[in-house]
Symmetry: C2
Subunit: 389 residues, 2 copies
């Protein structure tokens, strides 16, 4: 086990009706609220009205920033920061999925950013920053942004999509009933995101972090069990609740306890897909992950033991031929994604090979993926992209 | 899944050499430190000297409270509070196991307690309290006090041992090498404590908290794997590190996510044993747990499904006869404790039946254990105690 540092200052209120804690969560921070949300699904499910009633009854002054994009853009961060400054906002209330929360984190930190260009804040490496307090109400089980300090912001002008640390939510209200109306497509994509977060930590050289590996396998098995139920019965509370809890703990850092950091290759490669083509993050991850797995298993068969463990402990497969077993586990993952309704080729998304070299160079900037579970060169990354066509 | 609220403000520095963060951890709080510890084992392993060098080099003023008991007593809390007030202490540094940390939490809160009698603070129900900041350096993998807000304080005059909430450590430094010198007896007892914390949540009527149950099984399997290694090779870093991480997460509340609270019957019964006989907490838990399991399985066979799951998923047992399988899992746990060198009867600890009725009445005060996984009457508790003779 390697050394680690761990802290999550976020308070989670989990379960149906936990919006009853919203007023208590906001009140310590002040009365001037920036309410952030996306395309308006929160209005369709009645959540917007419920939130506004609580804010109005509590005497809050509310400024709204709506229309935050699925891959949130720097322009939304800029708008939010301007609103916070203009209206002397005390606290940000993000209502939505990972994109709205990510964008709100960058806004919260951007208010205190001293430079002229907020993209510089996004593009320079840093830990958490001084930020306005952030409260969120989660409506999608996917990124785990409700329980970590990071966010991912996109610049469509430069085709860049960059993850960074900003701030932890002070409070996250996680009510699984708000995900009942999430489409099958977004539900499946969200689960692919959870699976990918786990795989980025699980596929590591560290062999003796029993707790981290066991929790990773627990979350993978939970998603494999509960996603099909949620797809078949969108208002199955238990399935939605398990996926929501999985989402938060997948990103909590606990599944990384004591493990060698691996550079998160699928996320780096997917961020390029989203930056160039604005596709759904979880779909890009689902397409890439099994192809990345096959590529590294072929490139470095000494990593097969980890795939064998994945096949046995996650998929319940068995067999004496270790390579066959390893490949069967990868096939099981790809089939799971396909059966969940995710388009599993880039061709289906109308994405061709024309930018692969440029995307590979971006994903591997500074030799970032030399540090991966199996080191990746730009050529490796292009090959993985090609296998996704 | 039931609703839950979760927050752990503690920052963990985990791994060998993490004491390098001690100065940074203390400095924000001030320069006047109350250093608390137990019987002096920290001097034998050189940790006392290492801590004092950091404190002296950093220009801290240090006041010491040593001799904190294995079942920490109200008198130690009183002494600590008096020292904090007399020396205008800024921050408490607890160096030791759960007893030292528990006592230090009560001291930290006791400084702000406005009543005359600190035992009233211990004996009245409350959540976390206003408290001095607390930093700890952990030397025993057992209670998980390094990662929760609770503490257990004993009053030998009244034969009471009561758990309550006080404050979360601000920082916990968890270096597995500090546990290399822990005796086989205390190592095994500490692991029994970890197992018991998990069982108190795992044995619950809630069937659909996949994450919580999977994490519980992960921790149980990790302790079952790593305790024998640590007993055979006391300086096996990997085994000691896994036990230490298990200890913290077992008490983190995550293995309770969405599960019905069960009243922690073994802890309630054990606190009476310790209060009357001052025995090692983990040993009392190890003796009680399998007898409690057999008693409730007999009393209410509708709970057998949970024991079957325990036998299959934790012990890898199989079989078609569910009752036989359930009992085999319990036997496996009892054998595991016995093979770890724990005396598995009260008779071996020179404890007889003379106080069982009184202890049962205390453990079940206010009908506390009517809320257990299987409701327990005072008569049930006496029967369980008798099965331990």
């Amino acid at each position: 086990m390697l050394n680690y540092t761990h802290s999550i200052p976020t308070r989670i209120f989990f379960g149906e009706g936990q919006i009853s804690h919203l007023d208590d969560a906001l009140r310590p921070f002040g009365k001037r609220v920036l309410l952030t949300y996306g395309g308006g699904s929160i209005k369709k499910i009645g959540l917007y009205d419920a939130v506004m009633k609580i804010l109005n009854d509590g005497g809050y002054t509310v400024v709204e920033l709506s229309g935050i994009e699925p891959n949130p853009r720097i322009e939304s961060v800029e708008k939010g920061v301007a609103l916070c400054k203009e209206h002397r906002i005390d606290v940000i209330l993000a209502v939505g999925g990972g994109s709205t929360i990510d964008c709100s984190k960058a806004i919260a930190a951007g208010v205190y950013y001293e430079g002229d260009d907020l993209w510089q804040m996004v593009a320079s490496r840093h830990g958490t920053l001084k930020a306005l307090p952030l409260v969120d109400i989660l409506t999608l089980s996917a990124t785990g942004s409700e329980y970590d300090g990071g966010g991912v912001i996109t610049n469509m002008k430069t085709n860049e999509k960059l993850g960074n640390m900003y701030t932890f939510p002070a409070v996250s209200i996680c009510d699984p009933t708000y995900t009942f109306s999430v489409s099958k497509y977004q539900t499946a994509a969200g689960s692919a995101d959870i699976i990918s977060h786990i795989c980025e930590n699980y596929f590591s050289r560290t062999e003796d972090s029993d707790l981290a590996d066991g929790i990773a396998e627990t979350i993978l098995k939970s998603v494999i069990k509960n996603l099909p139920i949620a797809l078949a019965e969108p208002d199955n509370y238990s399935a939605r609740a398990n996926l929501m809890a999985d989402s938060s703990v997948a990103c909590s850092g606990i599944p990384a306890y004591g493990k060698q950091s691996t550079g998160w290759p699928c996320h780096a490669m997917e961020h390029e897909l989203s930056a160039f083509y604005d596709i759904t993050h979880g779909v890009g991850l689902a397409i890439l992950t099994p192809r990345w797995m096959r590529h590294i298993l072929k490139k470095d068969p000494t990593c097969a033991w980890r795939f064998v463990r994945f096949a046995r402990n996650v998929w319940g497969l068995s067999g004496d031929d270790e390579l066959a077993l390893a490949l069967a586990g990868i096939d099981a993952l790809e089939n799971f994604f396909r059966e969940s309704g995710i388009p599993m080729t880039l061709t289906e998304l109308n994405i061709g090979a024309e930018h692969f070299e440029e995307m590979a160079a971006h994903a591997n900037v500074g030799g970032y993926l030399a540090n991966a579970f199996v080191a990746l060169t730009n050529e490796d990354i292009v090959e993985i992209y090609r296998a996704c066509l």
